[in-house]
């Protein structure tokens, strides 16, 4: 296969010599026989060696590049833009905050004929608590909505309780007739052990072609899992490395949103809160639609910041709303045609030394996989700098940042209240919830404001969140960010 050396090292064909060296060291560290005794790793290591030998020598690389047909060297059709809350940064020795909005957009036209099929695995909880309405709504909507996938997409379904059963092995959507009957036979029984279900689902997805457009596991559950959380995280990491992303749908009020948030964030996924059949229909159709219009998958933000700075908070505004872990790399999920990815960062600047002329807010790159292309890695690099001046004029921050923050602030108020409840600071938590309710009322969002006030009262009495109100507030304030689309000028 032409261009495979670039794929081995996870590089685009226009990678610089530095990037090649860096990629080689990173890959070699992971697959070196001393570090990784597995047989597969050994082979991988040899491949990396071979690729590096060619690509690191300018002459050999030139010859190699000539052997790649031009039509495989597809230029990137993605671009990024960066906005900062200040165009000039005041030279203060005291701490200050800056906000950075990173937008990644796909500039190309979607050509569905060239897009490979996707592989989707639904992992459905069939524990006893799913009985009745919940399972019925899953059956009805799943059967209905998988028809919207493309005929060649592979769908599989795993059900789990304390053990997992593959009820539908990977099947092309065009053979849907066979699926329908099996979904209807779904029955409940048993406890919830998520690892069982996830493991079976990941195993099925690993069997799908490696160049699938998207490989996604969609977990539907209404409960907690006990004792296997660490296993689940480890599995999610392995899955993410194989380009498998996870999304989770939580039903009712009992499920563990904190755990699932953490689980799916490993691959840049998100959780949604399902309270009705209509919710499920909306969320599932959005999710499946997003899979069909993916341009790049496994998008990761690799960013280094000056030691004088600290990223305090990171939130993804598009395509899915979710707080994102502050680590490097930051997983962002997939990049869709027409939707893009937006990330808002809150940066804490401790002190700017006297006589600084320019502040580097961060450098790094966005790396991603392009499943529809033979040379399947892409990257965008960035270097955010802003001038520093002793005297700055008052300025109005970019509208998109203010707009996004106006709503994100509300989400963060409830996050804060949550932490305070955990720490037993009930008075503070109630105060913050009251502030939140006031803002919601001012926005005209009476229903959510009411939920918040009821919850504040509940906390005062019982010193903790009610399970239902907890999720309604979290997902309700998150949903505020949905409209109008942030990141739009």
């Amino acid at each position: 296969m032409a261009g495979e050396f670039y794929n081995y090292l996870g590089l685009p064909f226009d990678a610089s010599a530095d990037e090649i060296r860096q990629a080689y060291f990173d890959a070699a560290r992971r697959f070196h026989p001393d570090a990784n005794p597995e047989q597969d790793a050994r082979e991988e290591f040899l491949r990396i060696q071979q690729a590096y030998e060619t690509l690191s020598s300018p002459e050999k690389r030139k010859i190699y590049d000539r052997s790649i047909p031009d039509n495989l060297k597809v230029p990137l059709t993605a671009a990024m833009s960066i906005r900062v809350s200040r165009s000039v940064i005041p030279a203060m020795q005291e701490p200050q905050l800056l906000y950075t909005l990173i937008d990644i957009n796909c500039t190309g036209e979607m050509d569905s004929s060239r897009m490979p099929p996707s592989a989707i695995c639904l992992v459905i909880d069939r524990s006893t608590s799913m009985k009745g309405e919940r399972l019925e709504m899953v059956k009805a909507n799943v059967a209905q909505l998988i028809k919207t996938l493309k005929p060649k997409d592979l769908i599989s379904i795993v059900v789990f309780s304390d053990r997992a059963d593959v009820i539908i092995p990977p099947t092309q959507v065009s053979d849907l007739d066979k699926i329908q009957g099996k979904i209807n036979t779904l029955d409940v029984g048993g406890a919830t052990e998520m690892y069982q279900g996830l493991e079976a689902g990941v195993a099925l997805l690993l069997r799908s072609p490696e160049n699938s457009l998207v490989r996604q596991l969609i977990l539907m559950t209404d409960g907690h899992t006990y004792g296997d959380e660490e296993d689940c995280f480890r599995l999610a990491k392995t899955a993410a490395e194989a380009n498998i992303s996870m999304a989770a749908f939580g039903f009712g009020s009992e499920w563990n949103d904190g755990f699932l948030d953490q689980l799916v964030s490993i691959s840049g996924g998100s959780t949604v809160f399902v309270t009705s059949s209509k919710d499920l229909q909306n969320f599932l159709s959005q999710r499946l639609h997003a899979i069909g219009v993916a341009y790049a998958s496994a998008v990761n933000l690799v960013m280094t910041v000056d030691p004088a700075l600290e990223i305090r908070y990171a939130f993804r505004l598009r395509p899915d709303l979710s707080p994102i872990p502050i680590e490097s790399p930051i997983p962002l999920g997939s990049l869709q045609y027409g939707k893009g990815i937006s990330v808002l960062l809150e940066i804490y600047v401790k002190s700017i030394p006297v006589n600084t002329r320019e502040l580097q807010l961060g450098t790094g790159r966005i790396i991603f996989k392009l499943p529809s292309q033979p040379i399947s890695h892409g990257r965008l690099t960035f270097d955010i700098r802003r001038p520093v001046a002793p005297e700055v004029e008052r300025e109005i921050p970019p509208a998109a940042i203010v707009e996004a923050l106006s709503k994100l602030t509300l989400y963060r108020l409830q996050e804060r209240a949550r932490v305070e409840v955990d720490q037993g600071e009930i008075a503070n938590a109630t105060k913050h919830l009251h502030h939140l309710a006031t803002h919601l009322l001012a926005r005209g969002d009476r229903e959510l404001a009411h939920t918040v006030l009821v919850e504040a009262e509940h906390i005062q009495q019982s010193r903790r969140f009610s399970k239902d109100g907890d999720k309604r507030i979290k997902y309700g304030t998150k949903a505020l960010l949905l409209l109008p689309g942030p990141g739009v000028e």
Binding site: L97, Y99, I396, P397, T438, R443
Partner: protein, 174 residues
Amino acid sequence: MIICPNCHVDNLPGALFCSECGAQLVTSDFRTTQAFKRSPSDTLNSSVLQAEPVAGERPPMAGVVDVSISLHLVDSGQIMHLAGRNEFAFGRVTEGQPILPDVDLSPYEAYSQGVSRLHASLKVAGQRVVIMDLGSSNGTRVNGQKIVPHVDYPVNHGDIITLGKLKFQILINR
């Protein structure tokens, strides 16, 4: 440090919203954040909410344009035009007062409404219009939210300003 006009908590410079109460700390002329300008009030005043301004045209962003300001007195429905200077001190004129306010609110039952003799001042600086409470007895509110005395507080077209109990809507014509 930025002191939040709503809850008086210190925020780091560069913060756009108060981390304590969520109030907006920066001016923004963008229509998109309009809804949020109805910032928290100690008690939510429903009549203020009903008096939501009718959205005017988006003000021009560039160029120095003369800003003309009118006050719409909510109770009496009268409109008062302000012109001729960049700063207007509001209050009421009484006998033997050493410093007179620029705008005398006595005709609007200022005394019974709790307006101080020197109550608040409205300043026009370029495109910005700010109000400052001059240490009045009964305080000044912007959209129902009490502002800190002697601190400039930005106001926008359609905001409801309350001096004591006297309520007016500010109309800014750029």
